[in-house]
């Protein structure tokens, strides 16, 4: 293991030199090749700079996949050398320019049979170990912790359904500063660029974690390369996958199924903790949940609700509607919108609960009554909207059916 690491390391050094030279050559102005990207370092649990193979495995399944991949690569390499050895030998020797005369070959049936049967046997030889891994990979029974991952445009929602931590649920969104950096066109060198989330998924080490996937709007896919896991999250369907992390640490992945414009901006960050740390996290999280559980019957004043709404807006709405509420392109502006300032609050509540325009504006019913009330009140009283209207959480609760 350590020797392979060393070789890889030296390879990488050589590669870095080559890459610098290459980019200088390719562009004449090497500095322009994202000077920022040049200072980026490997992200443990995430991608490494110019990584050439799968991520270092953190589960048995991922290890098996590595092995299978090398196994397949080995066989393919041998076939490649043999087949093209023959072809290039023929190209060199059997050419007219060296005076070779064409000779018809006999076409005995055993030749054709042979090169049908031998590849068939090779393929069967490949299929056997693959079958073993596949069956293990699909066995999601006897999980210690079951977590539901819900794909939404464009974030992940996690609900701990069973096992230690049951009842915990939260949303996991890309750090907004990364989205801003991306739009600026000049992101700074950041090791976890586009991979940093506000709330990582936390799991205990060495326990079988079953991930149930589904989606609210369109198909997403939940992927963590170091775990060897990728599962589509399909609206209206429930699918599952599993992993058992062998070491503590942070592991990263991204949404792997085209899900609309912010597809590149819904990363997955899994924090693997030791059993004790995990228990401590669960206890703290449950305390927080209890404290945070907003009482939907609480009556808020305008200033507090707008303040709360601002953070809800930043986390959920800003990516499309923009910080200034003006929207962009097909995204409708909120600033000055007739619907937003309408005295009939039922209209805006309906849009947030059920979505609009076939889901171009998605439904937000997964947010709490207080969050929804806060963000609507914020929109009604921000930018040029000065309605002084308050939507109380109880009104949202009443509008839910």
């Amino acid at each position: 293991m350590s020797t392979t690491k060393k070789t890889l390391h030296s390879l990488r050094h050589r590669w870095t030199a080559l890459r610098n030279a290459g980019s200088m050559l390719a562009l004449g102005a090497g500095a322009w090749v994202s000077a920022a990207a040049q200072q980026v370092k490997d992200l443990p649990g995430g991608p490494a700079v110019n990584q050439l193979n799968f991520a270092p495995p953190a589960t048995r399944i991922a290890e098996e996949q590595h092995w299978l991949h090398w196994f397949m690569m080995g066989i393919c390499a041998v076939i490649f050398v043999v087949v093209f050895g023959v072809m290039f030998y023929s190209i060199l020797k059997h050419r007219k320019s060296v005076g070779h005369k064409a000779q018809a070959l006999p076409e005995p049936i055993w030749v054709e049979l042979g090169w049908t049967i031998v590849p068939l046997l090779i393929v069967i030889g490949m299929a056997l170990p693959a079958t073993k891994v596949l069956v293990a990979q699909k066995d999601t029974t006897n999980a210690d912790v079951t977590i539901k991952a819900v794909g939404m445009q464009w974030k992940w929602g996690y609900e701990y359904l069973k096992g230690e931590g049951e009842g915990i649920n939260f949303l996991s969104t890309l750090d907004n500063s990364h989205r801003v950096m991306s739009s600026s066109g000049k992101p700074e060198a950041t090791d976890d660029y586009l991979l940093k989330v506000d709330n990582p998924l936390v799991v205990p080490v060495g326990k079988k974690i079953r991930i149930i996937t589904t989606a609210n709007d369109v198909i997403h896919a939940w992927m963590v390369p170091a775990f060897g896991v990728k599962q589509d999250a399909i609206p209206g369907f429930v699918r599952d996958t599993w992993f058992r992390a062998e070491k503590v640490g942070d592991f990263y992945g991204q949404c792997a199924e085209l899900c609309g414009k912010e597809h590149a901006y819904m990363p997955i960050h899994v924090k693997v903790l030791s059993a004790e740390d995990y228990s401590a996290w669960v206890a703290a999280e449950q305390k927080k949940l209890a404290a945070k559980a907003d009482d939907p019957s609480k009556v808020w004043n305008l200033a507090d609700l707008v303040k709360r709404g601002e953070s809800v807006y930043a986390a959920n709405c800003q990516a499309c509607h923009q910080a200034n509420g003006k929207g962009a392109g097909p995204i409708k502006p909120l600033d000055g919108s007739a619907l937003v300032v309408d005295a009939d609050k039922a209209k805006i509540i309906n849009v947030l609960l059920n979505g609009q325009n076939n889901g171009a504006m998605p439904a937000w019913k997964q947010l709490s009554d207080t969050e929804l009330a806060a963000v609507m009140t914020y929109a009604k009283n921000s930018w040029s909207n000065k309605t002084e209207q308050i939507i109380q959480p109880a009104e949202v609760l009443a509008a839910r059916k």
């Binding site: 980026v40 193979n53 397949m72 190209i91 007219k96 299929a127 596949l134 597809h263």
Partner: protein, 526 residues
């Protein structure tokens, strides 16, 4: 229309063989050679448009961060690049080859249904305009991936409808083209041209045409359901991913072209002709049962995954047989390496790499890691660009003297080959690494660790794009203007087949009376 009828009346009376001239020659074209030319020029235009979109993608991905396009436009670029390349460039180009070469190769005077042939070409023009114009519709072009993922399609603007309608028209055009090809091959062969004496290109197209007829209605049905889901609130698509058997349709005629070029330049007969026919048939049949290998991550049951894994791996066997047969054809030959042969050998080399990555992808446990990453992007560009496109270049250089009556410049052909070959690999080889490292496809921006390989791929892509512009300016335009050495009737001394029995350029009408063929059905004897 009346002009055509009038012309034909006159034709009937005075037995005059002059060709129609001016715009009428093209708009009312019923001659297979003219329609073949139209198809080829159309597909090259679409190749350039699709290529421009690809360069838009690569320019954006040159470095991390969004510099040129927003993510919505980026999704439009990837979607439209796929749709235009598959349905606008590759498919019509092969139909163009079929139009030009099938009647010449089987000794027929024309395609069986000459007017339907005209119709199926001209149908593609409004479809293509609609597809390209969708960029200028409110909300922009479709952005739901070229496989049109439901229910993402529900969130698209009106351009999605335009896109679906365009696909319907293209599908209708493909079906008409396929019927025409099947009827031509089955009914219009010259006496003595038995099925098992047909050139391989005819065989691969015969099988492809059957595949197309089987597949197109399914595709049309699926996109119609998408349409009614969007407008009438039906919910046919409780989504379960998308299969696309199109990919095999796009490679079989390429096999056919290579199977003609390799023997011609090895100066030998194609090794294992019969097994080549059977292998093509096997690939076609297997292609019906492998469709779900694109869906390993959708969560189908383990038995389903096993079935599709086995059947997909199995397709490697007949594909392998083809490669072995080509190499056996080269073995002990007397090879020369004019441009068509360079492209054919290049095809075998890079297509095999694409075949290997396909085999690796077919292994479901590994595919879990690679599905929807750049590894898949690398794989299908090795199969479709290096496979289909390189085979077509081989075919173009091979038959261009027959089509235009002049030889292309061998130097320019070689420049085009090496330039394309090298830049193609610079573009797509690094994508294997990106995919292994887990970079998802269809991403407008990416973690910075992926920056260098993306930069390399972008540089390669621009070089590859310019190589094709060079090809058009330095090879195609001179050939169409008749510049160059006059081509002999048979410019390749190892070539066999009836197309070399007519003068270069091929006259407007050929084989008006069924030719008398020798025993091998490769020569006209009376």
């Amino acid at each position: 229309m009346s002009a055509v009828l009038d012309h034909h009346d006159a034709h009937g009376h005075d037995h005059d063989h002059h060709a129609p001239t001016g715009w009428r020659r093209w708009v009312f074209a019923t001659n297979h050679k003219d329609i073949g030319t139209l198809y080829l020029l159309f597909s090259f235009t679409m190749l350039m448009i699709g290529g421009l979109l690809a360069l838009g993608i690569r320019a954006e991905l040159f470095q991390p961060g969004l510099q040129l396009v927003n993510p919505q436009l980026f999704n439009q670029l990837t979607t439209m690049h796929g749709l235009i390349m598959v349905f606008g460039a590759i498919m019509p180009a092969f139909v163009g080859f079929a139009n030009w070469m099938l009647p010449l190769q089987i000794g027929a005077s024309d395609m069986a249904f000459a007017r339907m042939n005209n119709f199926s070409f001209w149908l593609m023009i409004p479809a293509a305009i609609m597809l390209v114009a969708s960029f200028f519709m409110p909300g922009g072009a479709p952005a739901a991936g070229w496989t049109l993922y439901a229910p993402l399609t529900l969130q698209m603007g009106p351009s999605m409808d335009a896109g679906i309608f365009a696909m319907h028209i293209l599908g209708a055009s493909s079906i008409m083209g396929s019927i025409n090809i099947i009827v031509t091959i089955l009914n219009m062969r010259a006496p003595g041209m038995t099925l098992m004496k047909m050139p391989m290109f005819c065989w691969t197209w015969l099988i492809t045409a059957y595949l197309l007829i089987a597949v197109m209605p399914v595709l049309a049905g699926a996109i119609t359901m998408t349409l009614t889901d969007r407008h009438f609130g039906t919910s046919f698509f409780n989504p379960a991913g998308g299969g696309h058997p199109e990919v095999y349709i796009m490679i079989l005629p390429a096999f056919g072209i290579v199977s003609q070029v390799v023997p011609a330049f090895a100066r030998k007969k194609l090794f294992g002709y019969a097994s080549m026919v059977y292998a093509t048939g096997s690939i076609a049949i297997l292609s019906f049962v492998v469709w779900a290998h694109h869906m390993f991550t959708t969560g189908m049951p383990v038995t389903g995954q096993l079935f599709f894994m086995y059947s997909t791996m199995l397709i490697a066997v007949p594909t392998g047989v083809k490669i072995f047969n080509w190499i056996a054809t080269m073995w002990k030959g007397s090879m020369t390496f004019e441009t068509p042969m360079m492209w054919a050998v290049g095809f075998i080399f890079v297509f095999t790499i694409g075949g290997f990555t396909g085999l690796i992808l077919s292994v479901a446990p590994i595919d879990i890691q690679m599905q929807d990453t750049y590894y898949v992007v690398a794989h299908f560009h090795y199969v479709l660009v290096a496979g289909s496109l390189f085979a077509m270049f081989s075919g173009i250089y091979y038959w261009l003297p027959k089509w235009t009556g002049v030889m292309y410049s061998e130097t320019r052909g070689k420049i085009h080959f090496w330039w394309s070959m090298i830049s193609f690999n610079i573009t797509f080889f690094p994508m294997h690494f990106l995919g292994l490292a887990g970079m998802p496809r269809r991403y407008a921006d990416y973690p910075m660790q992926f920056a260098d390989f993306n930069a390399i791929a972008s540089v390669g892509a621009f070089a590859f794009g310019f190589a094709q512009v060079y090809f058009f300016v330095a090879v195609i335009i001179p050939a169409m203007r008749g510049k160059g050495q006059p081509a002999p009737q048979k410019p390749w001394d190892g070539a066999e087949g009836l197309e070399w029995e007519v003068p270069s350029p091929a006259p407007f009408h050929t084989f008006e009376n069924p030719p008398k063929l020798d025993a091998t059905a490769t020569k006209v004897i009376g």
